[in-house]
Amino acid sequence: MKPTQTTYVRVAALRTSVAAAALLLCSDAALADGKLAIKAGKIVTAPNAPVIEKGVIVIENGRITAVGKEKDVKIPWDAPVIDAPKATAFPGYVEAHSARGMDRPNESPDIVIPFLTVRDSIDPVNFYFEDCLRSGITTINVQQGNDCIVAAQGMVVRPVGLTIDEMAVKIPSGIKMSASARRGASAPTQAQALRRVFTDLRRYLDQLVQDKKDGSDRSRREALYQGRDLEGDKAKGRAMEGTAWTVKGLELIPRGEVDEKQEPLLALVEGKMPAFVWCARPADVHVAVEVARDNGFLAKTTLVIDASCWKAADVIAAAKVPVVLQGSVMHLELDPLTGKEIETFVPKVLHDRKIPFALSSANASSQSLWYQAALCVGHGLPRAAALEAVTSAPAKILGLEKRVGSLEVGKDGNVLLLSGDPLSVTTWVERVVIEGKDVYDRSKDVRVQHLLGGKQPANTAAMNGEMLDPSKVCCDGSDEKAHAKHLEEQRRAKDKGEGEDAKPADKKDGEKKDGEKKDDSHDGHNHDGAGEHREGARQ
């Protein structure tokens, strides 16, 4: 059944309201200026650090300038203060690899596209980023999906802002590849396709240099023939670096002349670009490591592994690469001889083999990072190790260990205020501060009230609106009315320019307009989106 026109309108409208909602989350303190002080009952600066009772964190221009006991730290007179005597302050969680937050995570699986970037696919008002705030994730590495050979460049973002530029933390964060059979292929086909990418690069560069040389030889001969003085040709580019292989004479070529489709690959081989390689089966780990080693980017490689890859722990450890554990933390398989089910708790294996690993919230039940960490503690990991897997470990994988992952002077002011122990199932993220901006306050989060109380505010969609039952979206008159009412309110707000205080209000309006424009432009995607879910809901 095709989605009706109303669906489009409705979904577009939803996004508008989301943009609005996202804005509402930013409280005045954040907007005041670059300073912020946080008083918390407890401060846990890092997974294994001692707890600071009655502590203070001072953030200026996004960076932490002081952490310590209330009596030791002087709060600047002009800094707005968040006073949370009951809360525990904890570093924001870091998502080392996620294919969410984009309109569609995969390009056509059969083409090599390292010159593309997820920048053009990230949707700032995607519900995923909102969920991230809610579950305390303050840094996210967005990478293309796993269905590829060599895919686009990813980027690290913070889950706030209405434009990519507001969100951007690090561009690019690395190139995504897959060592595992993409749609409709088998393991050997995939492995060969992946290797071929680099043999082709190499032949391309060889040819480039060869042609250059031939050309200059000829002109030298021409000069001889014409009796002109010869001038030797000087290097216009820079020599190729690279630990595995290099092409001699590349310095003759100005880097600008290198095909931009090949440039990112060249950067990889020169060890100037990180790589995230997906491995769905233990056998794929061998391919991933081999290709990375043979082309000199093993040191810059992170394996994104499925639980089954615990069997390749030896290879991973030997290659000294970090991993991101995607999917379930528990690997199930049937014993081929007895038919009995064997369970393996993978993080334990990785920990025991001293393999640096990060947990991922992209798992079977899409549970959040802290929950995965908690499960690790339950299954025998030291508490510190479990927490590192969602803070400092991913930070290191993203090369951001100097900026995120713990609460130290000089690092980004990404602070979570939690209602209790980070790993307790009853603990909630009360407030989130990202680089000194107070971006999330649970008491103002209409959607968490929805999640918790099911009170779905008239002007918002259900959580993950993408998945919501269209019959409820477009066939439910009351929602339509509510939405109209909401738009009406917005218009009045604009006209009057009313609001708590004028400045931020204006600002809001300005951004709100952008928000709306953006959403209209996004309509296109939502057509099929809504269509699918219409089908989806039928199954």
Binding site: A185, S186, P188, R218, R221, G227, A283, V287, A312
Partner: protein, 547 residues
Amino acid sequence: MLAIASLLVCGFAAEPAFVPVSPAIGAAAAFLNAPAADPAPGAAVPAFAADAATGDVGASGEPFVGQDPVEKGDKPAGDDPKDKEGADKDKAAKDKNGKSKDDDKDEKKDKPKPKPTPPKPKGPPLAVRADKLYVRPDRVLEGVTVLIDDGRIAAVGTDVKVPEGVRTLQAKVVTAGFIDGWSSFALDPAAFGDERISPSSTALDAVDPYVDARWEREVLRGGVTAYRVQTAPHTRIGGLGAVLRFHPGKLAQDSALSSDCSLALTLSSARGGDDVFERAADTERVLGAIADGWAYLQEKNEYKHELAAWEKAIADKQKELDDGFKKAKKDREKAQADAKDKGTEFKEKEYKEDKKPKAPRYDEDREVLARAANGELPVVVEAHSAVQIRALLESARKFKRARLVLAGGAEARRFAKELAELRIPVLLSPQPMGFYVESAISSGGLGLAAELEDAGVEVLLGSGGADGLASRDLPLLASLAVGHGLSPKAALAALTTRPARVFDIADKVGSVEIGREADLVLFDGEPFAAATKVKSVICGGDLVVEE
């Protein structure tokens, strides 16, 4: 001990039968009007070639090559009864005008870069006392001791001194480990019939290194120590096959005997349905791969000659330009001066030279096809119906260098003579199973192996790759063939020396000779007798099965 060893070696060497003759060479020679075999399809990538020097071919058994002339993956004559003196003679003759030694070097260089494998751990030394040892099917020694050190056979002899503390095993009969020439053990299920496969893709990528070790033990208990898998079975043009070991302690890739032992083509009657013409077209397309490889070889060859010519021409030109430079300079200054005086505009002389010839586009898949067409890589063609086999024979006549192997060959009977003439080995899987077809009665089935053998065709046996675990039952399949007339000697050869030679690993396994890697099976009786049990199995020098 060493003395004895070398003494034995001499014993071997003395035999006239052991004149080293490569089938590739034989074939090559027969193809007289062909351009001399080309250096390195792929030598175009110097870096690769450089790496290839450290390929496992180079690494394996080199020290012994000098000692034992039977090395170098050659066809040991007398390996099967049909090999008459005559054959040897004309082979020897061919050898003279065959390929030169440096060709062989090139061949070695062509081997694509092997996977980086950690050095094999040295197993503890072992000794085996055998009442009866099949050195190879046609060479039996009584009451000998085999000494194994560092995974290799260090000595074979009647009075070999076993060093202190070396464990010694007893056995009635000892043979080389069986090789399943046609298996699908641990193969990625998605690889079956993956038509997107490319000739350059390798079976090492298709095999799951983490297959349950107990399954490997299952197979080893039958006496099968190695298996050949094809990258993507039952695809028109498959990739490179590999020979791997059932070593329970090691990853398949780490105990590999060969990472590119064959190229596979499939002429399946399943495809094309009832449409005769479609089937014919399909056959043509598949066998066309060899022609394509040959064409590529020639393109590159032509290019080489053109380039040489051009370079020479340019070199001459360069010389004459260098010589003429002073004059040219003077002329130019003069010309410039004149122009000034006359007030005309000065023009540089126009320079001409002929264009540099363009290299054929490098294509790693065609590189593989070229190696196949050139006989550097055996081509295993799965074909069953008479039509397909006839087509196969035609292309065998057309491309004399190609080393074709017929796999399956349900209706091969009526082509026995040609197959023997063209020295095309046939890889059979004598299955007790299968859909019953009336015509099968005339196609002989289980009797086929024997009949081809009698007709002088070289028969290899494999488990057929229908089921990964079928390799376990290969010895049973072999005895089934024996039951239907195949001589036990031929059967043994079909499981050891022949696959070893056909797939170019004879320098590593297939026979119990000094320097070979130690894959041994210890029986309590003659192999292929149901009563006989496998006592112990040694795989890569490690004792992997013992009772």
